[in-house]
């Protein structure tokens, strides 16, 4: 079951190793207590290089959303450690975590990404405003151009299509130049063509700006855009695949848990 994983070191790497944008070490997450407790992650270790585009895949119940939440500092592990950009997340309190997320993490959800009362432009710049930082206008217009939203800046989310909304979410995730951009099933609600456009956009951003992206998905076609796919099953890493093709990924998924 466990093929040699390039990212599972024989001895624990120094936590400040710069090439890991994200790192989880023997993370365990249990929800609830006693009889009704659920083990979502069980002794999961994984590291993600800077500048890589990784897809995390697994059947439902494999823990991939939980993994994403812990890696992004949205949730705390019951056991084990998580590092983001070399920072040990266990050492931060809620406010510090929020600030860290604001500056170092971009997040795209499957749905409900945008503040309904703000325009596209205001939504994109929101994390910067919350951080009371100065908006890098050059970078912002670059982001806007890359995501193809130049004509939509004054619109509100209710006036956009699903694909356009996801692009706004991606633009917002990018505007702070985060260490990692996490995407949780970003194309789950989109049609094939729009999905391809959004995924192509993500690919292009990684290629041209060196952004690290971790994509959680159940769609082999989406995973095929990534450099590498990590498979999760029953809360653990169950293998990985370099330079995946959609078919290879689908094949691996079918046999997960064998």
């Amino acid at each position: 079951m466990n093929s040699a994983l390039r990212d599972t070191p024989a001895e624990p790497l120094s936590p400040t190793a710069p090439q890991h944008a994200v790192r989880l070490d023997a993370v365990r997450k249990v929800y609830g207590t006693g009889e009704g407790s659920v083990v979502a992650l069980d002794d999961l270790s994984a590291g993600f290089d800077s500048g890589s585009f990784t897809a995390v895949m697994g059947p439902s119940g494999s823990g991939k959303s939980t993994f994403l939440h812990i890696a992004a500092g949205l949730d705390t592990p019951t056991d084990g450690l998580a590092w983001l950009g070399g920072v040990n997340l266990a050492e931060l309190n809620q406010t510090e975590l929020t600030v860290l997320r604001r500056e170092r993490v971009g997040f795209v959800f499957q749905a409900f990404n945008l503040m309904p009362s703000l325009t596209v432009s205001q939504n994109i710049s929101l994390p910067v405003r919350l951080g009371k930082a100065r908006l890098d206008r050059d970078w912002m217009s670059q982001v806007v151009t890359r995501t193809g939203l130049q004509d939509r800046l004054g619109h509100r989310p209710s006036e956009l299509s699903g694909g356009q909304q996801q692009r706004v979410a991606i633009a917002r995730a990018l505007v702070t130049r985060p260490d990692v951009l996490f995407a949780d099933e970003p194309t789950g609600a989109l049609d094939t063509r729009t999905s391809r456009e959004v995924l192509g956009l993500l690919r292009e951003i990684v290629d041209s700006t060196g952004q690290t992206i971790v994509l959680v998905t159940h769609d082999p076609m989406a995973a095929a855009h990534a450099d590498r796919v990590v498979f999760l099953a029953d809360g653990r890493v169950a293998g990985s695949l370099e330079a995946p093709s959609a078919d290879a990924v689908a094949e691996r998924m079918a046999h997960l848990g064998d």
Binding site: R102, K132, S158
Partner: protein, 850 residues
């Protein structure tokens, strides 16, 4: 459908909590008012001294009005309607009557060496002829019956507590100078006599003290053994015809305690006015809360529609859910409502406003009324809001960004404008009527209509306010403020829903409180301008005997002395259901001591066949100077009189001035309330006051003062009314404040998702709370501004009607209190409810469905 609705309710209790709270609190309020009204209606004074007397002959204590028409009914008058003493022999002659005993009652003060003797429970003492002892019956426990003018028999309980013994002395002050008397006997009874102190004298003395020897209060009838009470009563009615009334059973209690009538009318007036306001506000709060809860379920309803439920089915399901919630909630409100009624009734009784024996009991009628009105209001709200909700497109369920519907529909816009127009019309009517009481009453109604107009036009108002706020904030760098303003501009309906209860709270509370303060202030001002006397005599006890007045007139330096007594009118002059206050005064020299701001006619023209009226009463009666009118005096006696003068300063005084010659013998208490004195020019008021003090030795309860003392005393007597008003205002404020908290909480909890997203995008908890503070501040600020504007719009004309000045009397402290309390409620509610909404972890919150 009912089953589906019930299951739905059991599963998701959350969205219904807001509606439940609003309905329960509204129901509690309606139940409280209903029970108070019912208690007032059913209150029957107990039979005490007449316990041993099955039949009492009385005067027409409840004269007929509108006789012969369809509106014929009986209205209780507040003064004792006496009967001629000659009736006693006629009554005694009727077969079956063993004894007919004339009763009179004169207030008195009794002092022993130990101090003032008080009746049971501190109740006042009254003198009665000894013969009436047989009516209770009282039996001599010690000593003998009184035989001489200075002899008394007292009740055993009083003797014990007051330190009186047989043969011992006491000082009696009643309708005459204080005299030393001897207690010759002590009597006791097995009957419950708890509301009066009973003292007996000889029949002749009692008659003399009553001031009206030819008249008696009542005639007690003791039947022969074996006589049937009802048959005897009928025979008496035949004999007496229109000359008197015959009371049996519990009606004897009314005959014994006539003070109950005024108290009862007071409770009914309070209950119905307050109840009216409460009911209307309750219904409004229920309707707006339910509308909001339906609005918040938009997505869920869209889901139902997507699953192919027709609009009609959706409406039906919503209706059933609301009916169940309404029934449960209104029943839940019954107990707190009953508790409130009990407390309020007790407090009113203790202060003497409500009848002493009024019992607040849980009745079916108030409960049914509360439940019924809640359910009906809820259904109306559902009908209006549900229709729009059920028509929503199913695809909305699949959309991620729910936008609010168009700002305001045409139907709502038109309705809002119509209601606003209605409010303006009501205001015009109130002002035109010129009557200060109706103006004040209508003020609350007007302000309420304007609040409804604002509620209907809400989103429009909110949109404008938000744009102004946005302009004011400008390019401020504060991100929380920026977010708050953006929210206000796009979510206008939500803003408007939050705004409405605050506008309601501020508008209604301000209107109630400041129309009352304006009225109080105007009354105080008028009081100070009214009394121009140099010196005033007042009583710390039961009243000022006329003998004192005669003595005062003999004092050198006293140019004029005018005796006044407080009374009321019977149903007449247009005031049939709420009896007008009146003052009985000596007419000679009245212009020297009272300045009533007479605008037509003159007080100097008053004689035994004329009266003066306040402008308000003259308008109500449709009469002017020189007209002949029929007036009913305090005891119901009707007289034809001429209107000799019309005056302006009636507030806190009385709507009619009746000459002593006309009305003095038609008042229960033969003694005066005050004596107003003008000193002769050249005489020093201090010297005269010193001389008057010597008279006070013979009348120990007399207090000599100047017009400021008089004013102070008047202010003090109004304390009960002021207290009552404050309590009612507080209750209304609390109720509307609950609506504010409830609505803001509903709104905040609905935004869990949005707040979760904000945190996930990098907003810290404190930034989210700061945004909530901004929003809360804007809602509160705009709400207070609009509510205040409504209050001012209503108060200006009202104040004109009451006091002639368009500026209402609004002490800054009270304004600060009302505004501050409203602001505090709004801001605290926002903070508290936002914290509640922030409780789920953002990760969970983002997944939460509406």
């Amino acid at each position: 459908m009912l089953r589906v609705a019930l299951q739905g309710l059991r599963g998701r209790r959350g969205p219904f909590v807001g509606a439940f709270v609003a309905l329960a609190v509204a129901s509690a309020l309606v139940v409280a008012c209903g029970m108070l009204l019912q208690a007032g209606l059913e209150s029957k004074p107990p039979v005490e001294r007449y316990s041993g007397t099955p039949i009492i002959v009385t005067g027409h204590q409840k004269p007929v009005v509108n006789a012969g028409t369809d509106n014929e009914e009986r209205i209780a008058v507040y003064e004792r309607a006496r009967v001629p003493r000659s009736l006693v022999s006629r009554v005694a002659a009727v077969p079956g009557v063993r004894r007919a005993i004339a009763d009179s009652s004169t207030p008195a003060t009794l002092r022993s060496d130990a101090g003032t003797v008080e009746g049971p429970g501190g109740h006042p003492i009254a003198l009665h002829p000894w013969e009436t002892a047989a009516l209770t019956p009282y039996a001599l426990q010690a000593g003998r019956a009184p035989a001489a003018p200075d002899e008394l028999v007292v009740d055993a309980g009083m003797a014990r507590s007051g330190g009186l013994r047989v043969g011992g002395p006491a000082r009696l002050t009643s309708n005459g100078p204080t005299r030393t008397v001897t207690v010759v006997g002590i009597a006791r009874t097995s009957a419950n006599v708890e509301r009066q102190g009973v003292v007996f004298t000889t029949a002749a003395t009692a008659a003399r003290f009553s001031g009206l020897p030819g008249r008696v209060d009542t005639i007690g009838v003791l039947p022969t053994r074996g006589a049937d009470t009802e048959e005897l009563a009928d025979r008496l009615r035949d004999e007496l015809g229109d000359d008197a009334e015959v009371a049996t059973g519990s009606a004897r209690g009314d005959a014994e305690h006539i003070e109950n009538a005024e108290a009862r009318d007071a409770v009914l007036a309070i209950g119905s006015t307050f109840g009216g306001i409460a009911l209307v506000i309750a219904m409004f709060v229920v309707a707006s809360t339910i509308s909001l809860s339906i609005l918040q379920r938009q997505r869920e309803v869209a889901l139902l529609r997507a699953v192919a439920a027709t609009p009609k089915q959706v409406r039906r399901m919503i209706r059933w859910e609301i009916i169940v919630v309404a029934l449960l909630a209104s029943v839940a409100g019954v107990i707190p409502g009953a508790a409130l009624a009990g407390w309020l009734g007790g407090a009113l009784s203790d202060r003497g406003i409500a009848p002493e024996d009024m019992e607040v009991t849980v009745g079916a009628v108030p409960v049914v009324a509360a439940v019924g009105s809640s359910v009906i209001t809820a259904l109306i709200a559902v009908a209006a809001a549900g229709r729009r909700a059920a028509r929503v497109r199913p695809t909305l369920a699949l959309q991620e960004s729910a936008s609010e519907p168009r700002l305001i529909g045409p139907a709502r816009l038109i309705a809002g404008l119509l209601v606003a127009a209605g409010g303006a019309a009501l205001l015009a009517v109130a002002v035109a009527s010129g009557d200060s009481t109706s103006a004040a009453d209508l003020a609350a109604g007007t302000s309420f209509l304007l609040v409804i107009a604002v509620a209907l036009l809400g989103p429009l108002v909110a949109g404008i306010a938000a744009s102004l706020a946005a302009a004011a904030l400008g390019r401020s760098g504060n991100v929380s403020g920026f977010l708050a303003v953006s929210n206000m501009r796009t979510a206008s309906r939500r803003f408007s829903s939050a705004l409405t209860p605050i506008v309601l709270t501020v508008a209604i509370s301000s209107t109630l409180v400041f129309s009352a303060t304006t009225r109080e202030h105007a009354g105080e001002k008028q009081e100070r301008q009214r009394v121009t006397a140099d010196l005033v005599l007042q009583s710390d006890g039961v009243g000022i005997p006329r003998s004192a007045l005669h003595e005062v007139r003999q004092v050198p330096g006293v140019e004029t002395a005018v005796g006044t007594a407080e009374s009321s009118l019977g149903p007449s002059l247009g005031s049939v259901y709420s009896l007008a206050q009146a003052v009985v005064a000596d007419t000679e020299g009245i212009d020297d001591v009272l300045d009533l701001d007479v605008t037509h006619g003159s007080l100097a023209d008053l004689d035994a066949h004329s009266i003066a009226l306040s402008k308000a009463q003259a308008d109500t009666a449709g009469a002017g100077v020189g007209d002949r009118v029929e007036v009913a005096l305090g005891d119901g006696t009707r007289r034809d009189v001429r209107v000799a003068a019309v005056y302006e300063r009636g507030l806190g005084f009385g709507d009619a001035l009746l000459p002593t010659a006309l009305a003095a013998s038609h008042v229960t208490n033969p003694m005066l309330s005050s004596v107003l004195i003008r000193t002769a020019p050249g005489a020093s008021p201090d010297t005269v006051a010193a001389r008057l003090d010597r008279i006070a030795a013979r009348y120990p309860d007399l207090a000599v003062g100047d017009r400021h003392d008089h004013a102070a005393r008047v202010d003090a007597s109004r304390e009960s009314n002021n207290w009552l008003f404050r309590i009612l205002s507080v209750i209304i404020f609390v109720f509307t404040a609950i609506a504010v908290v409830n609505t803001l909480t509903m709104i905040a909890l609905h935004r869990t998702r949005e707040l979760a997203l904000l945190q996930l995008v990098g907003g810290t908890r404190s930034q989210v709370l700061a945004m909530a503070r901004w929003e809360g501040g804007m809602v509160v600020g705009v709400g207070i501004a609009i509510g205040g504007a409504i209050a001012v719009t209503t108060l200006v004309p009202t104040s004109s009607a009451i006091s002639g000045s368009p500026v209402p009397y609004a002490p800054l402290g009270v304004v600060a209190l009302v505004v501050g309390a409203s602001a505090a409620v709004g801001l605290l509610a926002t903070q508290f409810s936002t914290r509640l909404a922030l409780r789920p972890r953002p990760v969970d919150g983002i997944g939460l469905r509406d």
